[in-house]
């Protein structure tokens, strides 16, 4: 594996480390970077916003223009077009079936050709249900041509092979499924655009001369989802609560974490037990912790039990209701501080272990008080650790989710992550959910950059 030196002594690139990191790089690209980009795209891109019109009823023909989804258009004509069999099952597809038939035409000659299924009454089918013979239907309308035309190809514009009388018996040789194409026109950006489109994109209305574009084949940049998110009635409360929680949670966690770290670093007997106890919460999920604090704050919970036991209240107080939002906020705050301080504590302890013992002892010898030691030695030397902890904690705090659902059912008080969930799960709106997720990403990155800059500028000032 180590191919640092080759027999010729030529300098050669050692590929081993690259091979070793390759799987993780591929995995992260596939399941991290790519979905991340997709998520951003989902938020600003409308799938099928525009429908492409063709100059002829053919996918390969020249483009005639684009019309937006939802537009009312005139239906000027229709034509069948062969489609690949795997597309037949698609929804909203208007199809017609043509039969290839053989029979006698009006002049008594046996001809072979194509005619629409609606002109043939099937008399016989084989075991697998494929029609094998039938007869030409009579045409009831008096004004129409009483004869049925047979074409060289499954297309009304192709050459006519001959015509058949009604009730002529025919063999059915083959059949073809065609998708109907519509010739549509509509006005878009002060221009009348006319062209052919497959029926799957069109919903024909009433008498069949008008229709609506149900969906397009081209996506388009849009701010619609972002507007929908901002105009949602839960948006501003969610954003406000999220930011408020961050402002409340982070400082409390850092103060508590530094105290915890000082206790552990004090080299007491049994500090291993302290470490285990302080770190317990590191492995707890926000859902479980939410339930723990719910058991304290619920109406028949521990807080009321203790207060009543002490004679401070006469009847249980309802903390978690719409009228007492601030209590919900306090409960979430306590739960989050209780749970996530452990992470900060571990990072701070790891940072403190890197501070050399001599520095601390020197400070003690010169009679620095605890506060002076924290203020002038520990905090400045811990700055890189604190910076990492700040970034990590803030990003996690932007994603507070289950605790909020436990405490408020997700309605009374809501946060951004909860709205992402609601849009996806209840509203079934993937794009607006992606917009919320993108907002969380954006806010996280802004705060991370802010922390990085703030810490650096302080150092520059110090120099």
């Amino acid at each position: 594996m180590t191919t640092a030196s080759t027999p010729k002594g030529r300098k050669k690139i050692n590929w081993a480390p690259y091979l070793l990191i390759l799987p993780s790089l591929v995995y992260l690209a596939l399941f991290f970077a790519w979905p991340m980009v997709q998520g951003l795209i989902l938020a600003v891109r409308e799938e099928g916003a525009l429908l492409t019109l063709h100059s002829e009823a053919d996918r390969n023909s020249t483009l005639a223009g684009q019309l937006p989804r939802g537009m009312q258009v005139g239906l000027l004509g229709r034509q069948g077009n062969p489609i690949p069999p795997e597309e037949v099952g698609q929804s909203n597809l208007l199809t017609e079936v043509w039969f290839q038939i053989r029979g006698q035409d009006t002049e008594g000659q046996t001809i072979e050709g194509w005619t629409p299924e609606r002109r043939i009454r099937v008399r016989e089918s084989n075991e697998s249900g494929v029609p094998v013979s039938g007869s030409v239907r009579s045409i009831l309308s008096s004004s129409a041509d009483p004869l049925t035309s047979v074409y060289a190809e499954a297309d009304e514009d192709s050459e006519m092979v001959g015509q058949m009388e009604a009730r002529t018996p025919v063999e059915i040789l083959d059949q073809a499924t065609l998708e109907v194409w519509f010739l549509i026109n509509g006005e878009y950006e002060n221009e009348i655009i006319e062209g052919w489109v497959p029926s799957r994109y069109i919903n024909a209305l009433g008498d069949g001369t008008r229709g609506r574009i149900e969906g397009g084949d081209t996506s388009q940049f849009t701010t619609r989802y972002i507007q929908r998110m901002v105009n949602d009635r839960f948006f501003w409360p969610a954003l406000r609560t999220t930011l408020l929680l961050i402002v409340l949670i982070i400082p409390a966690q850092f103060v508590l974490a530094i105290i915890m770290a000082l206790v552990i670093q004090a080299d007491l007997k049994g500090s291993g037990i302290f470490l285990y106890i302080f770190a317990i919460a590191l492995g707890l999920s926000d859902l479980a912790v939410g339930i723990v604090w719910y058991s304290i704050f619920t109406q028949s919970g521990y807080l009321n039990s203790i207060l009543q036991g002490l004679g401070l209240i006469d009847a249980p107080f309802i903390y978690l209701s719409a009228d007492t939002r601030y209590w919900i906020l306090i409960a979430i705050w306590l739960a989050e501080v209780w749970r996530a301080t452990a992470l900060v504590m571990v990072i701070v302890v790891a940072g403190m272990q890197a501070i050399s013992r001599e520095v601390m002892e020197a400070a003690e010898v010169f009679g620095a008080t605890l506060w002076q030691r924290i203020r002038y030695i520990i905090l400045p030397l811990l700055r890189p650790s604190l910076q990492v902890a700040l970034i990590l904690r803030t990003i996690l705090a932007f994603q507070v989710f289950a605790v909020v659902i436990v405490m408020s059912g997700g309605d009374i008080l809501t946060v951004l992550a909860n709205e992402t969930y609601r849009q996806y799960y209840d509203q079934r709106n993937v794009n607006v959910a992606a917009a919320y997720a993108s907002l969380i990403l954006l806010l996280s990155m802004i705060t991370s950059l802010f922390y990085l800059r703030a810490v650096r500028s302080q150092e520059e000032v110090a120099e």
Partner: protein
Amino acid sequence: MSSTADMQSKAVQVSPEVKAIHRRMLRRQRRGRALTYLVGILISLWVLIPILFIASMALTTPTEVRSYPKGILPFIPLSTATMEFFLGSRGILPGLRNSIVVAVITLILSTLIAAPAGYAISRFIFRGRDVFRLSILAVRAFPIVILSIPLAVVFLRTGIYDSVYSLALMHTALALPTTILVLSSVFSSIPYELEEAAMVFGCTPTQAFRHVVLPLVMPGIAAAAMFTFVLSWNEVFAATILTIQNRTLPAQVLVTLNQSSEPYQFAGGFFMMIPALIFIFFIRRYLFNMWGQISK
């Protein structure tokens, strides 16, 4: 020698004032120590009492759970009825099975992918090493919320939505950065000289790794794997978004939370905490390896 002599002479000559100062300092130190203990115990109570509350709710009868005011003495009466009620509820046992399957796949997959990368970072100096390390750190700094929505869309399109396997793929992506960093620090703690010595005695690099390094890093890898297990076990947001029929335990508890009774909720909350309580005990030695690493 001279210093001991000095000290002896000092000991002889100490004036009462110096003795007093010395005593005061000792007293101050003892007081500081007692204060630290007090603070430590207070914080321990702050951490432990809520756990005690939920445990005593989960390990008593449903009637007791619903009663008010609750007795402050825990576990009275001690009973498994609440726990049995929770585990017998619809969707809980399948959810438990799904959770374990997802977590096990996640830990296997992430260990297999992360171990080579961790080894590469700790053993080789190569162009792009710092970029790789930094990007792994950056990955940790991205919110996971944004991953779930597009992955749900992709999984729906490819027909692997609502499956424990696709959820495990997602959890692996979440666990990978931490696992890589932890494993690289675990490998770094084994001196390269050991491997070299093995190779001097005729081992191939692969053999040296298998017979010398691997046995030594096994505890560290096990700790990282446990951490991955707990991470997957706890993850609730992606699990709720990516599954419908095959819910994991936390996802099942979350979606039924509003329609469920308090005994169910409390037992569920306690049950979900059990793996963490056990695992943190085993991996506490590696905690600073794991999290200290990210601040370097």
